[in-house]
């Protein structure tokens, strides 16, 4: 038996299952990151002194990563738009670009972490670094998770396009919503950790 409302919209809400599901999930994600941001505020306002982010962290590298992640949001939305235009090969190009940009973000972060660890700057070194590693680490896990889902839709999951293009387009839209949320979190992490 097919599960209802995977493609067709419910008459009462005007939404399908996937759309309401991903937004409820994102709401829970807001609270997850919210709890960590609240902890950051509490630790920072309670500290006798706190370093400016740019005295410890690499701002040019983080600015580059911000540009990379914003660009990946554009390629993601263009991948969805390509499916809406029924251009599958263009979708593949944009989705591939999104995955590569996500990978670029993680590689930059690898070098950034490596540099700090070489200097003996560990999460246990001080509260600033503990907050930095926790928030950026959790964010990196989200980037990785988003990349896995996007890679599935770029590769094996794409065969659904041939049998049910509307459902496939919905799926890409919903994975896109997650990807944009990851970008949105970084938009707040970047100034609060690196610039203030």
């Amino acid at each position: 038996m097919d599960i209802p409302y995977t493609v067709e919209l419910r008459r009462d809400t005007g939404l399908n299952n996937g759309k309401i599901g991903i937004w409820l999930f994102l709401a829970s994600e807001v609270m997850l990151f919210g709890a960590l941001f609240a902890s950051y505020i509490l630790i920072r306002v309670g500290a006798p002194s706190w370093p400016r982010g740019d005295t410890v962290l690499d701002v040019p590298l983080a600015t580059f990563n911000t540009i990379v992640l914003i660009s990946s949001s554009v390629t993601m939305v263009m991948a969805w738009a390509s499916l809406m235009r029924r251009r599958f090969e263009t979708f593949r190009m944009y989705m591939g670009g999104t995955i590569l940009l996500g990978l670029t973000f993680l590689v930059v972060k690898y070098f950034e972490y490596g540099h700090h660890l070489e200097l003996g700057e560990f999460p246990s070194t001080n509260n600033f670094l503990a907050v930095y590693y926790t928030l950026t680490g959790l964010h990196m896990l989200h980037v990785f998770g988003g990349m896995v889902v996007n890679a599935y839709f770029w590769g094996p999951g794409a065969k659904l396009w041939k049998t049910n293009p509307v459902w496939f387009t919905n799926r890409v839209e919903h994975s896109g919503l997650f990807w944009h949320f990851v970008d949105l979190v970084w938009i707040f992490l970047f100034p609060t950790l690196y610039l203030l």
Binding site: V7, T13, G14, L15, K19, I20, W23, L24, A27, V30, M31, G34, A35, F37, A38, S39, I41, L42, V45, G46, A47, P48, D54, V59, T63, T66, I67, I70, S71, S73, V74, M76, V77, M78, A81, M84, R85, R86, N164, P165, V166, T169, G176, L177, H180, F181, D183, L184, I187, F188, F190, P191, T192, L195, L196
Partner: protein, 109 residues
């Protein structure tokens, strides 16, 4: 795919061309705002002013992403209801430590 769905996707395809132009505009705006955020940090403003400016720019950037890339500008009422509830709890979560601190319950030594 049913004929209804095919017709629906075809209708959307016309709208999508308009959407793509908006996405490019939003992309340029996000890049400009990123440059402004970094440039302002080099001015070394006082901490309260720097926090205010950085968060205001981040809120504008976040709104652009949520509004246009996540299509919140044209979403259904139920999604708005979920988000209003989420924002209320999120603000309470952030405000709690701030109020606790300002009421003197937290006195760092």
């Amino acid at each position: 795919m049913t004929s209804d769905h095919a017709a629906e996707m075809s209708d959307h395809a016309v709208d999508i061309d308009k959407h793509v132009r908006v996405y490019i505009t939003v992309f340029v705006a996000l890049m400009v705002l990123t440059v402004i955020t970094v440039a302002i940090s080099y001015l070394h403003l006082s901490v309260p002013l720097a926090v205010t400016v950085a968060l205001l720019i981040a809120i504008v950037k976040g709104s652009l992403v949520a509004g246009y890339f996540m299509h919140l500008v044209s979403e259904k009422k139920l999604i708005y209801a979920v988000l209003v509830l989420t924002v209320a709890f999120f603000v309470a979560l952030l405000a709690l430590p701030v109020f606790t601190h300002s009421n003197g319950f937290w006195i760092p030594e």
